[in-house]
């Protein structure tokens, strides 16, 4: 006497397979969610009190990054400019624009503008801008083509695997120090904005032989520490 119908054999087999599949699939889904911009904030444009356009100021006007982000070469933070820096120009240009009233009010009332942070690392990460800039990591390598961003967004995932991709093999990303703030710099134009836009660096690894050659040379020249030092936990966590 058969208690179960013959089809239950199939159902059992399918459900065993399905069980494994479901677990694997949900792990994969979790991993994807974890890496998605929902979690990382990547590519999400952030509203600011004043809609400051980097595209206009950097791309159109050609202002160097360091005009505003003054401490990027000397300090851990690149620093957000004081209102005074805005007013250097805007007391003359667009001095009456209604759009800039917030800036003028800040200057007048001595009340700082509260900007919303775009690149927000966890508190246990101690990132230092100056050492990266001084060792040949360009602004665009992490921040993407800011000169093409009317509103700034986070171009990289800022997840640890993204950091480690460079710390394990910095030669793939180094550039000559004089090109640090050059948004459009690339060697043989085969990388383009790919570095920032491609968190897994597939492009860099697959395509950029000449890039790596230059990188190794720069690594030697700038005395960039080896991967063991760069991937020691205390390099970033304290």
């Amino acid at each position: 006497m058969q208690v179960f119908h013959r089809s239950t054999n199939t159902i059992a087999k399918v459900s065993i397979f399905g069980g494994v599949f479901i677990v694997a699939a949900s792990l994969w889904v979790l991993a994807e969610i974890n890496r998605s911009s929902y979690n990382t904030g990547q590519f999400i444009e952030v509203q600011q009190p004043v809609q400051f356009s980097h595209k206009h100021h950097v791309g159109d006007d050609g202002i160097d990054c360091r005009y505003c982000h003054t401490s990027v070469e000397t300090s851990n933070t690149a620093s957000i400019p004081p209102t005074k820096t805005c007013m250097n120009c805007h007391s003359q240009i667009w001095a009456d624009s209604a759009y800039l009233e917030i800036v003028r009010a800040s200057y007048r009332d001595n009340k700082p503008i509260e900007w919303t942070r775009v690149h927000d690392l966890p508190d246990y990460v101690y990132f230092n801008h100056s050492i990266h800039v001084n060792k040949g990591v360009g602004c665009a390598s992490c921040h993407g083509r800011v000169d093409q961003m009317p509103m700034v967004y986070q171009a990289a995932s800022l997840q640890m695997e993204w950091c480690l991709a460079c710390h394990r093999a910095p030669e793939r990303f180094l550039r000559p120090k004089e090109k640090i703030t050059d948004m459009a710099w690339n060697i043989e134009a085969d990388l383009g904005e790919g570095v920032a836009a491609d968190p897994f660096n597939l492009l860099a690894e697959n395509k950029a032989e000449s890039r790596v050659k230059l990188g190794l040379q720069l690594k030697q020249e700038y005395r960039v520490r080896n991967a063991r030092v760069l991937t020691s936990c205390s390099t970033c966590h304290r």
Partner: protein
């Protein structure tokens, strides 16, 4: 149901006493075990053994907050769910708030350092304070200042917590109501109007000891306007006896300055000079410079004799120590004095004391001219006078000791002044009493108490203080005081060098500085502190400021101000600026802290911009560019160079000591008003008299009570007792035996009752002791916990001030919520027994009291921990290793028990990065010299401040859950009754090459870095505590509960932004100050060079007064640490475990007199 009810046996406190006899037997039988940490260890009770075998003592890991099982499961379920959700949480959006106009000199993200000072009676502590974006976050010693040379003490290290203390008083209180400062000024001006007609006859100022030139000038100005007014000074502790003693011996007030660097033989008479108070940092450093035996250097190290009435760091550090009763003390001192040819005839004491005296006399005489006698601040003037005569007789004056103009602006006999003031109050002559700082209601002696009745009798009382305390409660006006990190001011260091107090932050609360309060008594009541200070230096102080600026090119010593320069330059090192402070010991730290960080001048632009702008206009009339230069230099350096007090040409009077006590009198009192004499209270039932003697001392952690609300200091294990959060009545083991303390209160356990001493319970570090009733001169204290400390003279009870505060704060305790901490020793202090007295009655109360001591935690089971020997032994055997650690018999010569390098399954680490280019990687390491560690604890607090270490509270300390990353172990040596000394051993993480903790972490939260640092990754840690279990040094600390205060806003300002703030469930430990290493590395690499030796200074190293801790790169053979580790007396702690610790120790070398018993005893 509580877990207590389920498992009652866990909670049973097993009361098995330990007996002194057992302890003695063990010591005599076990020759191998020469060092010991506590009586409990020696007695090896069952509980103690159990304690040793546990990673953390029993219950240390238990959550005991009265939660039953069901609630617990519910909470667990909820937190599991929440933990899952928390993993997916979005980081909350953060804002960036830039400046509107960024001040000059600020680079966002980079710390600035400002020179300032913490005022202190015996000489201010010159400080260099780190400011992170306008928030002072860490106090360090000012390395340019001759009085500090970079060192700092526990009090100034902890002052940063005092600044951000949320319990500080925030508002002006008038008779219980919040009022404005304008209202206060109104009332004062009305009262002053009335005083004007009678020349201010009813106006009285009561300050602490004033060493500020500006404050003194202000007070003198007021007294000029109100000739009838009086200015009195009172401080419960400090150098008043010393000043009086000098007056007695040289005929006038003067300050004696010692030169320990020139002293081959030092005799300390109850002087705790190595406690490293703010005024004696330089002394400790100079002393230590003579205590570092180096391979190939045959010069003998100096020798320290101590005669003392209660155990101190200094006494236990001494090469030869004699503990005597206070009543016998003067006799001994007179005998020594007579021996060296000073003072009158002394009667020779009998017994071991005679032997000691003879040996000391012979030795001092043999080193005449290079010997030094120092008397403690607590000793009566006569002892100071005798000490100075001895120095004169031994030819030390001008060489090891010199006299300079007094440090105090107005040196007086403070007790006399207090007596006069109280007499005037009783006579109704005082109409306005202004208490400027201090807490006299609490700190005055019991028979000269500024009590409620007296405070009520004065029509108008004003109190300026940091806290609402006992005095402010009885005052009509309480004005919140600014912390010294918030206000402008000036003060003097121990040698008189004028030291500028510069604010680091605008006052957090609407506080007033003493200068601003005193302005209320002038016709410019609104003057700001900065204006007052600058005006003083523009006018009265101008000459000295300008002369300093003119002659100060690069700190060249100017002979003009160094009167003693002719005496072989011994004084030169003390009174001059940077160049003269050199010498072998300071070379490495010079430029250390500052090399990598900008030192900023002119805080005015940052913290008091408006003030300074105002000042510039008000005083620009006479502010020449030269003045401006000199002023800015003074602010930058933190002191006005060449302002050390001028040497005084004095001759020590030979018969001063026989002329009796200093003349008492009602100097400055109002005519016709007699000073009060001490009033004895109604006699107690038992008569009050007793057979014991009492010794009063300030508390090593909270001083006279002013730091009672400072959690860092409360939780700081006191140097010798290792007690936290309490004061005790210290007795000797024999006295304890005689008292029979240790009986159980209920008498349930009756066996061998009189022998019982401290009991430890199964609860770990908690110590249950009996409460004593102390009766002294008719006054009594009922709740003094007894503590047995070997080395205490028999029949002497030592109590510490500062506890029993009735109105302090959440930390220090309050009467109204019944949280008073400890007992008030001031209640027993009388004007005729200020520091000691005979006739103390001691009774048992039969009550039990828990104490939280860290001394019995983290035992090392009597292994080869401390290596020590005498100088004579060291010259023959520089290794000083015990027999067991020496060469293994038949094998290769030179091999010790420490396993060879490759003796591990793990592959070796490679630190040779860039070797082909001649650029080696770093290999960080540390060397700690046990020879010079005096156990002052400054490193512990410095570490706590630098690394955001939490305070856990008494109950948690009792469970061994204290969080200090560095601890100072104290190992006693010798007999229980008369220990030869204590060896202090700071123990941070060893950063082992083969770290036992690394292998056992299941989540790789503790790993080896490429530079050999044993890293702790908080965000990986899941709290298994396996690492701590496997650590042989017990240096890992676990956050059992949420110890960090995440809520209080002011604490958020305090934290070091470069160090993660740890949460519950995370392991933490010493990181070698990884944030400082990374900072220096980044700065060096940006310049394309290697980190220089001395560029990285860890927090503990930075503050160490004796430079016992040295950190650096072991790969660089020229580094200081590599050289120290190459010394023969270098050894690794528990090196036989093959952990290959990076932190190593240098064996202690002491120099006892061979003629005395302790010196004759061999080593292990």
């Amino acid at each position: 149901m509580h877990i207590k009810d389920t498992f009652p046996e866990l909670y049973q406190i097993r009361r098995r006493p330990l007996s002194i006899e057992g302890v003695r037997a063990r010591l005599t039988n076990k020759r191998g075990r020469e060092f010991w940490q506590s009586l409990e260890e020696l007695a090896a009770t069952e509980e103690f053994e159990e304690l040793l075998h546990r990673e953390f003592p029993q219950h240390a890991s238990e959550w005991d907050e009265g939660t039953d099982r069901r609630t617990f499961l519910k909470l667990m379920g909820a937190s599991l769910a929440l933990a899952g959700l928390a993993g997916c949480s979005y980081q909350p959006p953060e804002t960036i708030v830039p400046y509107v106009r960024q001040p000059e000199g600020i680079v966002p993200g980079k710390p600035l350092f400002f020179a300032t000072a913490m005022p202190w009676t015996g000489g201010a502590a010159p400080l260099l304070v780190r400011s992170n974006m306008g928030r002072p976050t860490k106090v360090e010693g000012n390395d340019l200042h001759p009085a500090s040379q970079g060192a700092a003490d526990v009090f100034s290290q902890a002052s940063i917590l005092g600044l951000y203390d949320p319990d500080r008083s925030e508002t002006i209180i008038n008779r219980g109501e919040v009022r404005t400062y304008t209202a206060f000024l109104g009332e004062i001006s009305t009262a002053l109007e009335a005083q004007k007609t009678k020349q201010g006859a009813g106006l009285r100022f009561l300050t602490e000891t004033v060493t500020s030139p500006t404050l003194a000038a202000q007070l003198r100005d007021i007294l000029r306007n109100f000739p009838g007014a009086r200015w009195y000074q009172w401080e419960p502790a400090g150098g008043n006896n010393a000043s009086l003693g000098v007056r007695q011996s040289v005929g006038d007030f003067a300050t004696s300055i010692y030169n320990f660097a020139a002293a081959d033989r030092v005799l300390a008479l109850d002087s705790n000079l190595l406690e490293c108070g703010p005024g004696s940092l330089r002394y400790a450093r100079d002393f230590a410079s003579r205590r570092r035996p180096a391979d190939g250097d045959p010069r003998e190290i100096s020798r320290l004799y101590v005669v003392e009435t209660t155990p101190t760091n200094t006494g236990f550090f001494a090469d030869n120590r004699l503990a005597v009763k206070p009543s016998e003390f003067e006799g001994i001192v007179r005998a020594v004095a007579a021996g060296v040819g000073a003072g009158g005839a002394g009667t020779s004491p009998g017994g071991p004391a005679a032997e000691f005296v003879n040996a000391v006399v012979a030795d001092l005489k043999a080193h005449a001219g290079a010997s030094l006698v120092v008397a403690g601040d607590e000793q009566p003037p006569i002892i100071h006078a005798l000490a100075h005569q001895m120095n004169a007789a031994l030819g030390g004056v001008g060489k090891t000791v010199s006299f300079v103009e007094p440090l105090e602006e107005n040196p007086t006999d403070q007790l006399n002044e207090l007596r006069t003031l109280l007499g005037e109050i009783d006579a109704g002559a005082v109409e306005i009493l202004v208490v400027v700082g201090g807490n006299p209601v609490h700190t005055t002696p019991a028979d000269l108490k500024l009590d409620e009745a007296r405070m009520k009798k004065v029509p108008l009382t004003v109190h300026l203080g940091l806290y609402e305390d006992e005095t402010s409660e009885l005052s009509q006006w309480h004005i919140p005081e600014t912390h010294f990190l918030e206000a402008w001011g000036d003060t003097r260091a121990f040698d008189g060098t004028v030291t500028i107090i510069q604010p680091l932050i605008t006052p957090l609360y609407s506080g007033k500085s003493a200068h601003e309060l005193l302005a209320a008594f002038t016709d410019q009541p609104d003057r700001k502190g900065y204006d007052i200070l600058r005006q003083y230096w523009l006018t009265q102080g101008r000459a000295s400021l300008m002369s300093a600026g003119a002659s100060n090119a690069a700190g060249t010593p100017s002979a003009a101000s160094v009167g003693a320069a002719s005496t072989g330059g011994t004084q030169g090192g003390m009174t001059n600026g940077v160049a003269a402070t050199g010498g072998a010991t300071t070379g490495a730290t010079a430029g250390g802290g500052q090399a990598s960080s900008a030192r900023a001048a002119g805080a005015g632009t940052l913290t008091a911009g408006a003030t300074q702008a105002g000042a510039a206009t008000s005083s620009s009339a006479s502010a020449t560019p030269e003045f401006e230069m000199a002023w800015r230099k003074a602010l930058n350096d933190g002191f006005v160079s060449n302002t050390a007090r001028k040497p005084k040409n004095v001759s020590v009077s030979a018969n001063a000591a026989t002329s009796g006590a200093a003349s008492a009198g009602t100097q400055a009192g109002v005519a016709g008003v007699a000073p009060v004499t001490g009033v004895a209270p109604a006699p107690l039932a038992n008569g009050g008299a007793g057979a014991f003697e009492i010794v009063f001392r300030t508390d090593p952690s909270i001083y006279d009570g002013r730091f009672a609300n400072n959690g860092w200091l409360q939780e700081l294990p006191k140097p010798l007792t290792k007690l936290t959060w309490d004061n005790v009545a210290i007795v000797s083991p024999a006295t304890a035996e005689r008292l029979g303390v240790g009986d159980t209160p209920d008498g349930a356990v009756a066996w061998d009752s009189p022998k019982r001493v401290n009991r430890i319970t199964a609860k770990g570090g908690e110590l249950r002791v009996e409460l004593l009733r102390l009766t002294f001169k008719g006054r009594r204290v009922d709740n003094a916990p007894v503590f047995i400390l070997p080395g205490q003279p028999d029949d002497v009870v030592t109590v510490h001030f500062g506890y029993g505060r009735k109105r302090s704060g959440r930390v220090g305790g309050n009467e109204h919520d019944k949280s008073v901490r400890g007992f008030d020793a001031y209640a027993l202090r009388t004007s005729d027994a200020m520091w000691s007295g005979a006739g103390l009655g001691v009774e048992k109360t039969g009550e039990d009291y828990p104490l939280a001591s860290t001394q019995i935690h983290f035992q090392m089971e009597g292994r080869d921990i401390v290596r020590a020997g005498t100088f004579a032994e060291w010259t023959h055997d520089p290794e000083l290793a015990p027999e067991s650690e020496r060469k293994r018999p038949p094998e290769a010569a030179g091999e010790t028990r420490t396993p060879p390098e490759g003796d591990t399954l793990y592959p070796p680490y490679d630190y040779s990065e860039h070797e082909d280019e001649g650029l080696r990687g770093y290999k960080w390491g540390m060397a700690i010299d046990v020879s010079t560690c005096v156990g002052c604890n400054a490193c512990v607090v410095a570490c706590q401040a630098e690394n955001n270490i939490a305070v856990v509270g008494k109950e948690q300390v009792a469970r061994s859950r204290e969080m200090h990353w560095i601890r100072v172990d104290a190992y006693f040596r010798g007999a229980v009754e008369r220990p030869d000394g204590v060896y202090f051993m700071p123990v941070p993480c060893m950063h082992c090459e083969n770290a036992p903790c690394e292998g056992v972490c299941p989540v790789h939260a503790t790993v080896h870095s490429a530079e050999g640092i044993n890293e702790m990754v908080y965000n990986r840690c899941v709290g298994t505590r396996y690492c701590s279990n496997n650590c042989p040094y017990k240096v890992r600390r676990f956050n059992f509960l949420l110890y960090q205060d995440w809520e209080t806003p002011s604490y958020k300002l305090m934290r070091n932004p470069e160090v993660s703030v740890r949460s519950r469930g995370v392991m933490e430990k010493c990181t070698y100050c990884i944030q400082r290493i990374e900072y220096a590395k980044i700065e060096a690499e940006k310049q394309g060079r290697k980190v220089r030796d001395g560029e990285i200074v860890t927090a503990c190293q930075q503050t160490c007064p004796t430079e016992a801790i040295v950190f650096g790169d072991l790969n660089d053979p020229a580094s200081r640490v590599a050289k120290l580790q190459a010394q023969k007396r270098n050894y690794g702690l528990l090196a036989d475990l093959n952990t290959r610790p990076r932190t190593t120790y240098l064996a202690s070398v002491r120099n006892p007199n061979e003629a005395l018993p302790a010196g004759k005893e061999g080593k292990a």
